[in-house]
């Protein structure tokens, strides 16, 4: 039937468009109480808490402070331990005596309604004995800086070097060295659904049931079981419809433990729904990095090496270890041959919200810094940016391509497949690169300034270690797929059903994909790092193949035919060329299950049509892409208009291009935000100035341009379907591309861009500075 690769509309949508989606805030249980959380208003202080007035308010059932929590539920576990981070510090579930960032949870109020809980929260008295805080990333590592954790000797939590070749020798030979300070500011995931947790003790099974918005329910099950001192089999984590994940819902938060602890203690269902303000000031952020990097090149612009260091702002705690800076450090070379490389990732504590992966996760930074350095090289050596990239790209015959250092997963970093020159060529063709250059020259004479930007990127996707899938054919011939990677809107129910429908020759509608419930499979890792499609999708394909083989074996016995003579068509096992000799999957299930009370008919096969499969990728795959943009900048107003944006992606074989198009365009929306708008701003004292959507700006319909998308396909050799992940490719190159395009437009004015996001006001200021520089030079 060939549903793989088909633009199948989604099975998920019928409920969602009718207002029948079921999200965590839609859950209601009898006797449910509501939680509101009192959060720190200062960045660093010793605290004393008085909850008497709050507790006295009618309708308030309980008030929790750190002392009320079991010892096992006071600190979040480190979900990504890394030996380089010698002093990891997990966030406190409720702050005990000291706070380290604005927004840190201090007290939890439990009341009949959210309204009452918030009334009571206003009555909690927190006495802050303020201490010096450190907010600025660069100041945090100066000698004498206040320490975020007095028991950690320095705010420099770790230095992780990534090295290959000999950079000193390479730089000694350089014809030219580009040097830049490149800064990326703090942003956040900001799914439209905030976080939320509902928990209750299931008396019937003696289990804690937790509904949350997790991308990693199995990780949460372990954390909750440990916090409550329960065996894992006494905790069930469920995910309803989830309103967007974007990475940061793949982490463990204080409330993930707090709410089940309260539910266990009070013995009734407990709901906590984060409000947007809490989300903006207290859910994990990402992206702040300051890079000091150098790129050494030959006279022809061929890269000899990259070296330098960057600072990564960890915030006050390290809930996910050093994953983000590590991802930047290994991704900087990207699609280019960089024989000599030495970059140190410095992980720095500050009195700010902890940071952790947000869609892209360190890679937008990596792409940005590498492409900015290349653009500088091109500018200084007067080499056309497209030509410069062509000279440095890894060639198609060089795969598998080893980078010379290890990946995040500890394996030798090796690109599995790709065709960078084809990506670039397609991108340039789509924007009609040469014609655009001519147009640019012509328009400049008329006082109009267009610019062209381009960038290529790689993304490590489809990480291990495994995903498990259970699959059964039911008595009515329908197929049930059980898996552990929950959906946050990616359309797994559709994409995986496409794979099954193809393999088992059943209608798409006959396949039901179940996920978001830790009872469905035995083990799972979770949905993040563009891995569910690749890893779970491969397991789905393997499970379906196993069932097909089983159908041939049992069907062959029933039809008295050899397995090799059989085919699976229209839900029936048939003898090839003799369509009348046929048995339906439904009949196979019936027969193989036998009759109640009688011996099993076909003992050699065991009962039923059910199987379990795991897929364990040897290492991650690499998705690649090339984005090109044409912009117009008005030097008077500094307004940036995106005239054309093209994305050429290589995600290997794609299950559903409709869904993947959506991933690309949606990812681009975040990238546009990262380039122009999205900025978490702290004042010097550590107050967050961006606590509403009026201050923290995201791209709207007026900001995201129409995107032209094309695909190059180099199937991954690392999984049976040749897939690569598609979740982040749309986001990663955007700041690099648009910075290059805007800089190119303003090239006659000598403006250099080394900072994202940048606003029209920033451009205006930089134009002014460039003019002053030019005047002084005269």
């Amino acid at each position: 039937m060939g549903l793989f690769g088909h633009r199948q509309v989604r099975a998920e949508d019928d409920n969602l468009i009718a207002g029948r989606g079921r999200y965590v805030d839609d859950l209601r249980f009898p006797g449910m109480l509501h939680v509101a959380i009192v959060r720190s208003q200062v960045a660093r202080a010793k605290i004393k808490v008085d909850v008497a007035a709050a507790l006295a308010l009618p309708g308030v059932h309980a008030v929790f402070t750190a002392d009320d929590l079991p010892l096992s539920a006071r600190i979040l576990p480190d979900c990504h331990p890394n030996p380089a981070l010698r002093h990891p510090r997990g966030p406190a579930v409720l702050a005990a005596g000291e706070v380290r960032y604005v927004g840190e949870p201090i007290v939890a109020i439990v009341a009949d309604s959210r309204y009452l809980a918030e009334d009571a929260a206003d009555l909690v008295l927190v006495e802050y004995d303020e201490m010096p805080a450190v907010i600025d990333l660069e100041k945090a590592i100066l000698p004498g800086s206040p320490l975020v954790h007095p028991d950690v000797p320095s705010n420099l939590g770790a230095r992780i070097p990534v090295v290959t070749g000999n950079t000193d020798a390479a730089f000694a030979q350089a014809f030219y060295v580009a040097r830049e300070r490149l800064e990326i500011q703090r942003g956040a995931g900001q799914a439209m659904e905030t976080r939320g947790v509902v928990a209750y003790w299931n008396e019937y099974e003696s289990r804690m049931v937790v509904w949350n918005v997790s991308q990693v329910p199995f990780v949460h099950r372990t954390a909750i079981a440990n916090a409550l001192g329960l065996p894992e089999n006494s905790v069930q984590v469920l995910n309803p419809d989830v309103g967007g994940g974007f990475g940061y819902k793949g982490l463990t938060y204080t409330e993930d433990l707090l709410v089940p602890v309260i539910a266990r203690k009070l013995g009734c269902p407990i709901k906590w729904i984060e409000d947007r303000r809490e989300h903006l000031i207290a859910s994990y952020h990402e992206r702040t990095q300051i890079h000091h990097l150098e790129m050494a090149v030959t006279q022809d612009g061929v890269i000899l090496g990259i070296r330098g260091r960057f600072l990564y702002d960890a915030g006050a705690y390290t809930p996910w270890g050093p994953v983000v800076p590590l991802l930047t450090a290994v991704n900087i070379p990207g699609p280019y041959k960089v024989p000599n490389y030495k970059v140190d990732a410095d992980i720095v504590y500050t009195n700010t919200v902890p940071t952790a992966p947000v869609r892209g996760a360190g890679r937008p930074q990596a792409c940005y810094v590498c492409e900015r350095l290349l653009d500088k090289v091109g500018h200084e050596l007067k080499i056309d940016p497209a030509e410069l990239r062509r000279r440095n790209l890894i060639q198609p015959d060089e795969f598998p391509y080893e980078l010379g250092f290890i990946s995040r997963d500890g394996t030798k970093r090796t690109y599995d497949s790709g065709d960078f020159p084809a990506l670039l060529g397609r991108g340039l063709a789509m924007i009609k690169y040469d014609a655009r250059r001519e147009e640019q020259t012509k328009l400049r004479q008329e006082g109009k300034f267009i610019g062209i930007g381009l960038a290529l990127c790689v993304e490590d996707t489809g990480l291990g270690p495994f995903e498990e899938v259970g699959m059964s054919i039911e008595l009515d011939g329908s197929v049930t797929v059980r898996m552990g990677t929950p959906s946050q809107g990616q359309g797994q129910r559709t994409a995986f059903a496409q794979i099954v429908a193809d393999e088992l020759a059943v209608p798409f509608e006959a396949v039901k994909v179940l996920t978001g419930n830790t009872d469905l499979v035995r083990y799972s890792i979770g949905t993040f790092a563009s891995r569910a499609g690749v890893v779970t999708g491969s397991a789905v394909s393997i499970a379906a193949k196993q069932l097909k083989q089983r159908a041939f074996a049992i069907g062959g016995t029933m039809l008295q035919a050899q397995a090799g003579d059989l085919e699976l068509e229209e839900g029936c096992v048939r003898v090839k060329g003799q369509p009348s000799r046929s048995v339906s999957l439904k009949d196979i299930v019936h027969t193989s299950l036998g009759e109640s009370g009688a011996p099993l008919p076909m003992q050699e096969f065991g009962p039923g049509m059910s199987t379990v499969a795991n897929f364990c990728p040897p290492t991650n795959t690499f998705a690649t892409g090339c984005h090109c943009a044409v912009v117009e900048v008005d030097p008077k107003t500094c307004q940036v208009k995106i005239l054309q944006y093209v994305a050429v992606e290589d995600f290997g074989n794609v299950i559903n291009p409709l869904i993947v198009d959506g991933q690309v365009i949606g990812g681009l929306g975040l990238g546009i935000g990262n380039t122009f708008f999205e900025k978490v701003v702290y004042d010097e004292g550590g107050q967050i100035l961006t606590g509403t959507f009026m201050d923290y700006l995201m791209a709207t319909t007026m900001d995201v341009p129409r995107v032209e998308i094309d695909y190059i396909v180099t199937p991954s050799p690392l999984n049976p379907l040749g897939m690569k992940g598609a979740g982040q490719g749309g986001t990663i190159p955007v700041p690099a591309v648009l910075s290059a395009a805007v800089e190119d437009a303003l090239q006659p004015f000598g403006v250099r861009l080394n900072h994202v996001p940048f606003s029209e006001s920033d451009l205006f200021a930089w134009l002014g500075e460039a003019r002053t520089r030019a005047e002084q030079a005269q």
């Binding site: 949508d13 009718a18 309103g243 681009l668 009026m694 319909t701």
Partner: protein
């Protein structure tokens, strides 16, 4: 001035159903009234400060943010939520187009986009792409990048025009 926790009566119609003398706290938002008191959880809360549009409902056919409206302010009005956009058990053309054009991913923002788009097409049956984009610029979607939403609304507009044209026998 009523006190925030004081209870008052409201009478209104929601999705064609009349609610007479419902007691609500004066401070209760319309969004909470719809979601909690009437169990119409299709209306979502993305920000609760009027900036994302997820909570948009139609009050007397005008798109309104139900997070910034008190239930008591809606007294005497006729409200439509995402659950009530269709007619006679059939989905609205905009809803169908959203599915057809993959205009939603997580679906959380979708009710707000659907109600806002229906209001647009009731006011302007033939919007241009720019008009659609301007009209929807107060709604935030974090998943889709908007392109397919815009496509869906334009397609629904064309579909509705065609239907109307077929119904009256006059060219759309």
């Amino acid at each position: 001035m009523p006190m925030p926790a004081e209870r008052m009566d409201v009478e209104l119609s929601v999705n064609g159903r009349d609610y007479t003398r419902r007691q609500v706290e004066a401070r209760r938002t319309l969004a909470d009234f719809l979601r909690e008191d009437l169990s119409l959880t299709g209306t979502h809360l993305g920000c609760e400060h009027g900036a994302c549009g997820a909570c948009t409902v139609l009050i007397d056919d005008a798109p309104v943010r139900s997070c910034l409206t008190l239930a008591v302010q809606a007294n005497g009005t006729r409200i439509r939520t995402v659950e009530g956009l269709g007619t006679d058990g059939e989905l609205h053309a905009v809803q169908k187009a959203f599915k057809q054009h993959h205009a939603l991913q997580c679906g959380f923002c979708t009710p707000g986009f659907l109600t806002a788009s229906v209001a647009l097409l009731e006011e302007n049956p033939s919007p241009t792409e720019l008009e659609v984009r301007e009209w929807l610029s107060g709604n935030i979607c974090r998943c889709t990048g908007y392109q397919f939403i815009v496509d869906a609304v334009l397609a629904a507009a064309a579909e509705l025009r065609e239907r109307r044209g077929a119904g009256t026998g006059s060219p759309a």
